[in-house]
Amino acid sequence: MTTSSHRPAWVEPPNPVVTTIKGVVIGLILLIMIYPLAYVILNSFASPNATTTAGLIPSEWSFSSYSAIFKGGIVQRSLIVSILITLVGTALSLAVTATLAYALTKTRQVPGVRPALYLVLLTMIFSAGIIPNYLVVKAFGLLDSYWSLIIPVLASAFNVVVMRNFFMQLPRELFEAARIDGAGELSIFIKIVLPLSKAVLAVIGLFYAVSYWNSFFNAMLYLNDSSKWPIQLVLNSYVLQGQSMSSMNNTEMYNLPSSQSVQMAVVVLATIPILVVYPFLQKYFTKGVLTGAIKG
């Protein structure tokens, strides 16, 4: 009966036919999920004159796509833009989200906080729409500024609520003890609340970072100047719409070979940061975050 250590005693031993079917289905799912990514990653290392095939392994290996990209030019610059937007944006978003979330825990003690909480919650069910948002960004003079990729998406009500829920669960006795010791609200927030909330700060920071890195439509809407474009926009023009790099930017003439392996290399470069943070993301998001949000 104890052939499988995971199988409780009351579960019948696996039926070989069912197990085989499940194995095939799962194998197919994994193939469909992994093959496209593996295909693009591996073939980005194909030499420009190698013919593209359906095979995963290129006929001729080379780093030429990457060295062409990192000679300079729009892809390299857009990567730097995206990295800076992601770093600055995530830091600002975390700061605004954490301070707001902490202040919103004071619905009982501080007058005006409860209406503020409702104002934040309400933004989850409506959106003014593309055009009104565009007009506001324009009115603030943010068009064609890097800030247009950060300030209009500075905080999400969802993340504020998740963080607030986390702060609410912290043991109250700690705050009381600090207050008796003469600590003000600010030092309680900085010295007690934030250090106890590293996990939730990490998850929400990662979520913000991913959304800044992936930000596409706002950049398309607000940035006309292609020299300011982040990587997602360059990826769209160069890979999806098939424009050549030189037509996108006349000021800098350089020849990026328009081969498929270079296109794949751009895709890979845009994907790497996500792949790097993914293990951390996965570790956190299944715990707490989502269940907390559902109850919120």
């Binding site: 994994l30 999920m33 593209t52 919103l104 593309i130 948002n133 905080a155 992936n214």
Partner: protein, 328 residues
């Protein structure tokens, strides 16, 4: 009690003094000033976030008014003339708008029919696996695409399924005529649904796993003792156990029926054309922002937003009536 805290607060005493108001303020203002002094830090922490939400979520609501205007960007909001419901009348006479609504609804229903049940089936399949290690590995793989941007997902799909991609190569080797599924208007809506499934099927399972985990194991145990096989246990215990979550999510999805993947469609519209790929959000963008028909674009956006909000509120109410907690 309150007075004590004010006095012991170091900043409060200094703040009270430089406030020599000649006329005695009304009680309400005094209470407000008192609260501001007493909770200065909390209000300061509240300020940046609230300013953001007011400026970028509430202030844009004023811009909704251009749906009722003959708006011109050069004249601005104050210079443009009101036109009543003209924009809406034009909208309903516009054959392109009618096609847009039709596309939006068809895509939405395809997604409800296929992309919605997919994570439920996957969660049930993974839950039936005995090996915890295999389960974790599959989860690690299927969650990933959720975090990739639509630009990346579509670029990857194009490399595999596009005209110069892996599939085309395979077809050529088999001596068949390849079809570029990435640029085929007729099958575009199926393509969209497949992409949504590929990207989010794993992510969607998380909520169902949480629901499955909350079903007491004793139920399975006693059912097994009573002779129910694994299929019958799934049907009679797991499915009823997660039904409230399914119903809640389905109702909320129905509330979002006018929202279909905006970026996903915007990115692929150039390759299949507007007739197959114009949905409400892309219509607003192309007509309003790019085409300069600001009033008509805003009118379409307002219709979508207002109906969407109403549907979500209604859906939530229905969800509550069915016994689940609802979202708000």
């Amino acid at each position: 009690m309150d007075r004590e805290t004010v006095v012991t607060h170091p900043d409060a005493t200094t703040l009270i003094r430089p406030n020599p108001q000649s006329s005695p303020p009304s009680g309400r203002i005094r209470r407000l000033a008192h609260a501001l002094r007493q909770h200065k830090v909390i209000y300061l922490l509240l300020l940046p976030g609230m300013l953001y939400f007011l400026a970028f979520h509430y202030l844009p609501l004023a811009g909704v008014s251009i749906a009722f205007m003959d708006y011109s960007p050069f004249l601005g909001l104050s210079g443009s003339t009101w036109s009543g419901l003209d924009n809406f009348a034009k909208l309903f006479d516009d054959p392109e708008f009618v096609g847009t609504v039709r596309n939006t609804l068809i895509i939405s229903f395809l997604q409800i029919a296929f992309a919605f049940p997919a994570p439920i089936l996957l969660a049930l399949l993974l839950n039936s696996l005995l090996s915890e290690r295999v389960k974790r590995m599959v989860q690690a793989v299927v969650y990933l695409p959720h975090f990739l941007s639509w630009v990346i997902v579509i670029a990857v799909w194009q490399q595999v399924l596009g005209g110069a991609g892996a599939l085309a190569d395979l077809f050529q080797r088999l001596g068949l005529d390849g079809v570029n599924v990435m640029a085929n208007a007729e099958t575009f809506k199926i393509l969209l649904t497949s992409q949504v499934i590929w990207k989010d099927v794993g992510w969607g399972t998380i909520i169902f796993f949480a629901a499955i985990a909350s079903i007491p194991t004793q139920l399975y145990e006693s059912a097994a003792v009573d002779g129910a096989g694994s299929l019958r246990r799934t049907w009679h215990i797991t499915l009823p156990g997660i039904l409230p979550v399914i119903v809640l999510l389905l109702i909320l999805r129905l509330g979002n029926v006018l929202s279909v993947g905006f970026e996903q469609i915007l990115l692929q519209q150039p390759s299949v054309g507007g007739e197959a790929a114009q949905v409400l959000d892309t219509f607003v963008y192309f007509r309003g922002v790019l085409g300069g028909d600001w009033g008509i674009g805003a009118a379409a956006g307002l219709l979508k937003g207002a109906i969407g909000t109403l549907l979500i509120v209604a859906a939530n109410r229905i969800a509550r009536r069915t016994g689940s907690e609802g979202l708000f």
